[in-house]
Each structure stands twice: as C-alpha cells, then as structure tokens.
Amino acid sequence: MSAPLETVALGKRFRGRWALRDCTLRAPEQTVVGLTGPNGAGKSTLLSLAVGLLEPTEGTIRVLGRDPRRSADAIAEVGYVAQDAPLYRSFTVAETLEFARATNVRWDGALADELLGGLSRQTRVSALTPGERSRLALAVALGKRPGLVLLDEPFARLDPLAARAFLQVLMDGVAETGATVVIATRVVTDIERACERIVLLGEGGVRLDGTVEELLESHRLLTGVRRPLGRIRGVEEIVRARHSGRQLTLLVRTNGPVLDPTWTVEPIGLEELLLAYMATVELPTPRPPEPSRLRWHG
C-alpha cells in the first residue's frame, strides 16, 4: 500500500549546492503532516518536487503512487499552494474560480464556494487582504478534491487571527475531502495546532519523523549537576546540552526509562523540542567530552 507522499533517498541539487539530500519519508493516508526545518533545509524544494515543478537529482518520489514528473493525472489530484499563494492578480475571485474549473477535470465548485464563505466574488485578487488571498488559494487547491494537499509556508504572511481562520478552512476542507495534508512551515506554533505528524528536515536529510505523541514520548529534559558526559542508561542520543552555572540541562532522545537518580527527568514541549532540533542543525552538535578530562574524573 503506497502512501500519498513517499520519497526514497530523494535529493535535489542546484548549481552544485544540495537543497535537499537523502530524504526518505512517507506521509500516511489521512494525516496532517507538519514539514519543518530551518531555512534552506529543503521544505519548499520537497514540495516542488512533489508537484513536478522540479526534477529530482537523485532518489525517487511518488505522489499518490505515481511519478509526478511523468503523470499529469497525479498532479490533477494534488492541491498545491505555493509560497506566497500565487494567483493571477488581475483576476477577480470569481474569475480565479473559473480558471480553476477550466483547468481541472475534477472540480468541486460547491466545495470551493463553501470554503470561501462570504468573500465578495467580484473583488480583484490584487485588492484582497493576505488572509483572503490565502483563503482563495486554499479554496482553489481544495476544490480539486485532492487526495494530497501541499501547503508551502501558508502562514508566512498571515496575522495570528487570519492564520487561525485559514486553519479552520483547511480543517473543514480536509474533513470534507479526507485528504492527506503536508504543511511546510518554519513557524512551530502553527504545526502544534494543526499537525498529527511531524517531519523535520535538516542538512543530513530527515532529522525527525513521527507522530507528535511519539516525539513527545521519546524525548526528555534531563537536569543535573554539570559533569562530563558519558553514556546515560536509557538515552539514545543527546540532542542538545546546555550549561548554566553548575547546572547542566540535556535534551535527550530516550530508548527506555532514565533511572539514574542524579538526573531530574522532565517531559518537553513540542515547540522547544523542534526548536532544539533546528538549532542543532545550524550549530555544530555538542562535542564529546575530551579524553583528558574523562581520565581526570575517572
């Protein structure tokens, strides 16, 4: 059973620089996936590859079980809103809907109408507020009754209120169509509100991939006296180490309970967790302790 969006070792290089590399992920059916990562991690690139605007340099990508570069039918079933929600500025709202109807075989005008609500159909796109414009772009994407919805930074230009309204429209549309949604965004709070699953992209490919619950369950904050770091039972990986005075705080990924009584173990919030991962992508990962100090201690 293939997932609506599936990539294997996907990579894209622009003029010698890798925008995305070694990306393997799947977005399962009927989930809302938050795709996040620092600037330049390849979120937009991944979505562009998924709608066939770009061709992979290496690896494979399958959208609704098909190759997006070869199959126009697959794209016909993907609702994509690119960054900045591109629309024809001189078109009115009604003309934009007519454009979508004319360029799509499957077009559910009633659904698009419903999602737009009271927005005046005679307003020109250039005169819409950012919130209205995003809403129109989303209605165009969802009116295709897509199996997969891809949104590239949908919240970037929206104030919090408009973002909330946008999410509401999205959720209504998703409830109606049963689509899988992938939202690429830097803004972690948006993800927290909407997504069941998180994929975090970093330089080395996919850094995190799991449901929100899994991620929260498998990460802990450890607080204790500052000390050189060796192995801690139950800890799979130290994501981030932070000192303040004599105190040491570790963000760790666990593979079992941490029972060492010298550590205070606390759960971590999603926002802090994702920010920590993004920070480690940009900064060098904490160095292992120097051997001399280890010897001194032990």
Binding site: L53, A72, A76, A82, L87, E98, F99, A102, N104, K144
Partner: protein
C-alpha cells in the same frame, strides 16, 4: 481553456485587433487619392506590354506624387513581427515573473498541453490578424503593384501568405525566449532581435535564390526605369561577360567626355552591355509559398523546442 486564454491575453489580443483596425482605417483614408490618380491618368494603358510614347512621364508623375505614401506603407513590415513577439514573449515570461507558473502548472492539465493550447489559440489569432493586415496591404498597394509589380521587398514583405508566416515565427520565438529568459522585457528584446536577424537573413541571402534568376540585356546603357520584377543586379559587362566595376565605368565616361564622344556610343563601341539580373513578377506566389513554408517550418521547430524544454526544464 479557451476562456482562460482569452482572459489572460485579452489586452494583447484587443491591442492587436485595434492595430489592424487602425491600419485599415488609415489605408482607406489614404488609398482613395491614389486610386483616383491611377484611373485618371489611365495608367493601366501605360503598363507593359502596352507601351505608348509619353507613358514614362505619366508613370513617373504617379510615382513621385505618391512616393511618400508608399514609403510610409513600408513600415507595415514591422507589424506581423511586432504582434507575434508582443503576444509570444510574455506568454511564459510573465508567468515566471509573477510566480504564477506554480499555479498554472499544478492544475489538472499538463504543462505541455497548457503551452500547446495557448500557442494554438494565440497562433490562430495572430495568423488571422496578420492575414487581415496582408489583405489591407494588398488592397492598398494594388495601383502601385500594377505599376511596379510586387516582387520587390516593398510589396513582397507586406503582402500574401508570408505575413502570417512571419507572425507565427515571431510568436514562436517570443515564447521560447520567454521560457529561456523568464523575464518579459529581456524576452521581448531578444525575440525581436532574433526575429529581425532571421527575417533579414532569409530576405537577403535565401530569397534571391529560391529559383535561378533571369538575365536580360538592356538596350540602353542606363538601367531601365520600369521593371515589374525584382531587380537583383544590373551591371555593365564586357564582351567576355565580365562585370565592369563602377570605377571603371566612371573612368570610361570621363574618357569619352574628354574625347567629346557620347559615352553611350563609346560603350557600345567597346561592346559593353548592361545586363539585368531579376526575378520575374510571375514568380510571386511561388516565392510567397517557399518563404511562407520556410517561416512556418522555423516556427514549428522553435515551438517543438519550447514544448520539449517546458517538459524537461525544472521550473
């Protein structure tokens, strides 16, 4: 899709339509005195093969009276290329500039089909507009064509089926330039330059050779003032058929003057003749067919390249 194309390009299409209308109105306004003079001076009876004495004068008057108008009408050669480039260059470049290709190419139609249907419909519009232009030009130039024939570029370039072929080629070049350069202004300039280069290249290098030109030995030494064909060359040749340079000709004239001999007699005594190389007027439609075929074929090649590129090129 037709509605989408109309909605997106209606300004350009209306502008082209308006241009054609404007040209037609200007043509009607300026044609009537020409036609009146043509009939008044009974020019038709003065045209070959009926050559009555004094006809030279009448034809000369007609020519000089309307030379300015005919010169203005030559600017019509710009319009088909202009229409094609103006519609073709922004077709893709504007989508790239505004980022809307990400909208247009992620709907239910493949981008090749999107490009092909746009090209087909706009191509049709451009062909229709340029056919109208050619029709207007042919009607307007009718009296001039009776006098001078329509093989020379002044008439050939604005009449007949080459006009839509030029427009189609300009459209294709504009589209490809827009796809490669992604900016409207750059695409416009490059496409216009490329169009002019190819168009002039074909006119100057290929057109004289579509069929082998004919040669005619003129009776006098000065070039005949009335030839309805396209005169490619008229040169003095010596008895062996070698071309005499104008420098040598001038020297010979000076020589004759010093000896108080009529230069014309002096030349004939040397056995020099004037040979005219020309394409005869009855080849008009053959040449039109050949040149139109060349430009339609070029347009097809450029368009195929654009379609192949739009499929392959990452956006």
């Amino acid at each position: 899709m037709a509605w989408v194309i109309w909605r997106q390009h209606r300004l350009q299409l209306l502008a082209v339509g308006g241009l054609v209308l404007l040209v037609a109105v200007a043509a009607v306004a300026t044609a009537l005195p020409v036609r009146a003079a043509y009939h008044r001076q009974a020019l038709s009876s003065c045209l070959p093969p009926a050559l009555r004495p004094g006809c030279e004068l009448i034809v000369g008057h007609f020519r000089s009276e309307f030379a300015a108008r005919a010169a203005v009408a030559r600017w019509l050669i710009l319009l088909p290329g202009l229409a094609g480039v103006l519609i073709g260059a922004p077709l893709l470049a504007r989508e790239f500039e505004h980022g809307t290709y990400r909208l247009a190419w992620t709907q239910g139609i493949s981008r090749q089909r999107w490009l092909l249907s746009k090209t087909a419909l706009l191509g049709l519009a451009v062909v229709a507009a340029s056919l109208a232009l050619a029709g207007v030009a042919m009607w307007w130039r009718e009296p001039f064509d009776h006098v001078d024939g329509r093989m020379s570029p002044a008439a050939f370039d604005v009449e007949g089926i080459v006009v839509p072929a030029y427009a189609l080629f300009a459209l294709a070049v504009g589209i490809l330039a827009g796809l490669v350069l992604r900016r409207t202004l750059a695409a416009l300039s490059v496409a216009a330059a490329a169009f002019v280069a190819v168009r002039l290249g074909v006119e100057k290098l290929l057109r004289p050779r579509y069929l082998p030109p004919l040669h005619q030995v003129a009776s006098g030494l000065s070039a005949p003032t009335r030839s309805r064909g396209w005169v490619l060359d008229n040169a003095l040749v010596d008895t062996l058929g070698r071309k005499i340079t104008t420098g040598r000709e001038d020297l010979a004239v000076l020589h004759a003057q010093r000896a108080s001999v009529d230069p014309q007699q002096y030349f004939s005594s040397l056995g020099w003749r004037r040979v005219i190389t020309f394409q005869p007027p009855d080849r008009f439609w053959v040449f039109q067919g050949i040149e139109a075929a060349i430009f339609v074929a070029l347009a097809a090649v450029v368009l195929l390249a654009a379609v192949a590129l739009v499929r392959r090129r990452p956006a």
